[in-house]
């Protein structure tokens, strides 16, 4: 009896399955997976004339897809999609970008498991370096035409060259960058109060004193950023380092050859400490570590302003309250030189695009990123600067960003964000943490600096 019942039961369940299958199987199931998961075909060398970009524009890769991932989401992803749209329309290549908040985790897992997307946008070269060391990244110099190389200052290519198991390779191309050596101020109120834009460090300190004497706090500072709390402080440190010591020392510092406990770094931190003082900072020194970096400039736009100066990369304009106008409500000035013998350097950071799967259409997209056209729409929309020589200053959406781009071009030296160049333990770890602990008052300067030195991986 019971056996019969079981057979009946299983048969009826099987029937359900068969039914479900036929019901759903009606629709032909086309293979909609992107070509990425297919076998990577070896790229035929010089089968057709022209660079990969030219071949793409000739329609050779029509119907293919290139997968991309990176840390930017939200409005930035919209801006990115908009800037590659013309390329997609012209070539028929579908660039599928997915941004994620857990970028570091997902990219590590996917690369290690052999499921890497075609192109990855790295906001810091440090993480990319790990993958290059493991030999997971395609050398872009093997296929990029000379015109791509000519479109950048050599220093960009130097920063993209990394060590792989097969020797030095060019690990990626720079699509856009962020300039950091500028101070923002509320222009209308600033002018109305009769303050002057400072040209030197002494002017800057005098201006700070003046604003303090007038009853306000001059500086808006906030370095809270979740797990990354402390990073704005590292930008300050780097800018001061560039202005108080030689470029050579700066480079040594980023590679670990100049320790944090050296007099140069100590001097920079002391200078920063004099400025990040209770009398200068809105909310007092304690507020520095607890204020979200994106909220920090907000009191500058209160009517009347509660603080007057804010040093931050050009991306910060997208955090400004809605409706404030560039050139009217706010403007910027160059973070003044401290010791004039070191010239007028500019601190930058940027996004490097690295390639993990070698297919002709991926090569075409990479080559596209070496042209100014790949960021043209983004420049118009604001929030990004172009490292390409063929990008025109006219493309910028507002005078402020155009002004920054021009200043970077005129600077005596361009240096990359030091913490981004340091190994993750330091540049995305102990450096942030030590700055946070130091400014929150839980450790003193010597302890902070020696803890960073101790964390440097061997």
């Amino acid at each position: 009896m019971k056996t019969k019942r079981y057979i009946l039961l299983s048969l009826s369940l099987l029937l359900v399955f068969a039914f479900a299958l036929t019901a759903c199987g009606q629709k032909p199931t086309e293979e909609t997976k992107p070509a990425a998961t297919e076998e990577t075909k070896p790229v035929e060398t010089e089968a057709t004339a022209g660079t990969f970009l030219e071949r793409a524009y000739a329609g050779e890769f029509k119907g293919t897809a290139v997968t991309m991932t990176g840390p930017f989401t939200d409005e930035d992803a919209v801006k990115f999609d908009n800037s590659v749209k013309a390329f997609e329309d012209a070539t028929g290549i579908d660039i599928q970008y997915e941004g994620t908040k857990e970028f570091e985790a997902t990219i590590s897992v996917r690369v290690e498991a052999g499921d890497a997307p075609d192109i990855v946008d790295f906001p810091q070269p440090g993480l990319l370096k790990t993958f290059v060391n493991q030999g997971k990244v395609v050398d872009v110099s093997t296929f990029l035409p000379q015109s791509s190389f000519d479109n950048y200052n050599q220093s960009w290519w130097d920063m993209a060259t990394m060590d792989s198991p097969t020797g030095s390779i060019v690990a990626g191309v720079w699509q856009r960058f962020n300039a950091k050596s500028q101070v923002w101020y509320p222009k209308d109120d600033f002018d109305a109060a009769g303050y002057q834009v400072p040209e030197t460090w002494d002017d800057l300190v005098a201006l700070s004193d003046q604003i303090a004497a007038d009853g306000d706090k001059p500086w808006c500072v906030g370095i809270e950023s979740g797990a990354a709390t402390g990073w704005p402080a590292t930008d300050w440190m780097e800018d001061i380092m560039l202005r108080t010591t030689s470029l050579d020392n700066y480079d040594k510092w980023t590679t670990g050859d100049l320790p944090f406990s050296s007099p140069e770094v100590k001097n920079a931190l002391s200078l920063l400490t004099t400025l990040w003082d209770d009398k200068y900072v809105y909310g007092g020194r304690e507020a520095i570590v607890t204020t979200f970096f994106g909220d920090a400039p907000t009191p500058m736009f209160d009517e009347p302003p509660k603080c007057w100066l804010h040093k931050q990369g050009n991306f910060i304009t997208s955090f400004f309250p809605a409706g404030v106008q560039a050139g009217v409500d706010y403007d910027f000035f160059y973070f003044p030189p401290i010791d004039t013998q070191y010239g007028k350097p500019y601190l930058v950071a940027g996004d490097i695009m690295a390639m993990f799967n070698d297919r002709p259409e991926v090569r075409a997209v990479m080559e596209f990123f070496t042209t100014g056209a790949s960021v043209k729409e983004w420049l118009a929309a604001g929030g990004a600067l172009s490292p390409h020589k063929d990008a025109s200053l006219d493309w910028y959406g507002d005078d402020v960003e155009r002004g920054i781009a021009a200043l970077v071009a005129q600077s005596t030296a361009v240096r990359f964000d030091g913490s981004d160049l340091m190994p993750g333990e330091v540049g995305a770890g102990s450096f942030w943490k030590a700055m946070t602990d130091y400014f929150s008052g839980s450790i003193d300067m010597d302890t902070a600096l020696s803890e960073i030195d101790a964390s440097w991986p061997h």
Partner: protein, 370 residues
Amino acid sequence: MSKKPKSAKTKSKLGSLLVNGILLLIVLLWTIPTIGVFVSSFRDPFDIQTSGWWSVFPHKEWVKIDEFKPADDLDRDSVMKIAGVSGTFAEFRAGILKPDGEKVTWVGNKRLGMIQIQEKKWVTRTKFTLDNYDKVLSGKKYVIKTSSGATKEFQGDNFSGALLNSLTVAIPATVIPILIAAFAAYGFAWMQFPGRRILFVLIVALLVVPLQVALVPILKDYVKLDLNGTFLAVWLAHTGFGLPLATYLLFNYISGLPRDILESAFIDGASHFTIFMRLILPLSVPALASFAIFQFLWVWNDYLVALVFIGAKPDVQVFTMRLAEIVGSRGNDWHLLTAGAFVSMVLPLIVFFSLQRYFVRGLLAGSVKG
């Protein structure tokens, strides 16, 4: 009940008052944070950032009744006399009380500041809006300047697609592990076999394995099986990651069932399989329901597993990814987060309410002797 003496009745009345009172207090304590966000989700973004959510209730606050520019020739560095009161700049900045209850405050710095006369008045900030919900549900709008100089509007993805994806992920990923775990729990509880102890310990130990360590090997296998990027991949992953808890919880419940029930069933000649299907499963409904709730919640609120195994493409994106995107690269869109938090809570609550009725007393009533 009616037979009870009167004193006991009043005593029990007092007891129930006490019980309800304490319960009310705890519930209130637990709910205040949520109420705050619920109120905030209907407030204007600017209000959210500049005043506490409790200011929607009537309260007294200083209100500006007059404002004027201080005389230019006023010496701001000494004691000044303004609007009938005198004091230093610092004192005016903090506000000086007039005898009639009004307050004279210097707003701004010495150069640009204004004098405000303020009075304490009853205020209720009741500027409510449904905008936050609208933005969350129908997608953010981005107005972006293009190279032609014109501005163009982009409509962000809406929530409904992501909610559907989340459901598609969550329901199978909740249902599938339950059955497997129930079988295993019964096996551990009531069947004798070699390796029983060691396997059970293994399951408890696996509870603590951080699932991040499993991501790389599993994804490697998925790449070989060509499973990555499919819903199936996520269902199986959630099944794997949810099984230790499911097995452990169900084991606790099933092993706690009275031994006599099973014994009498065995005497009647039932097999393990029959007992499991006919007796154990129906009796375990409360435990199955409670595990179903938890597993559904975890899957529903998961971000990392879905991200690694199906990715963030708009057509497969689950809602936690949308929520994270809404927070934005800026991380300060609190007004959208508040609304998003409530939208995302609706389904788990429906699941909770619909399964809550299975937590009933007396399932065992008929089967326990004496």
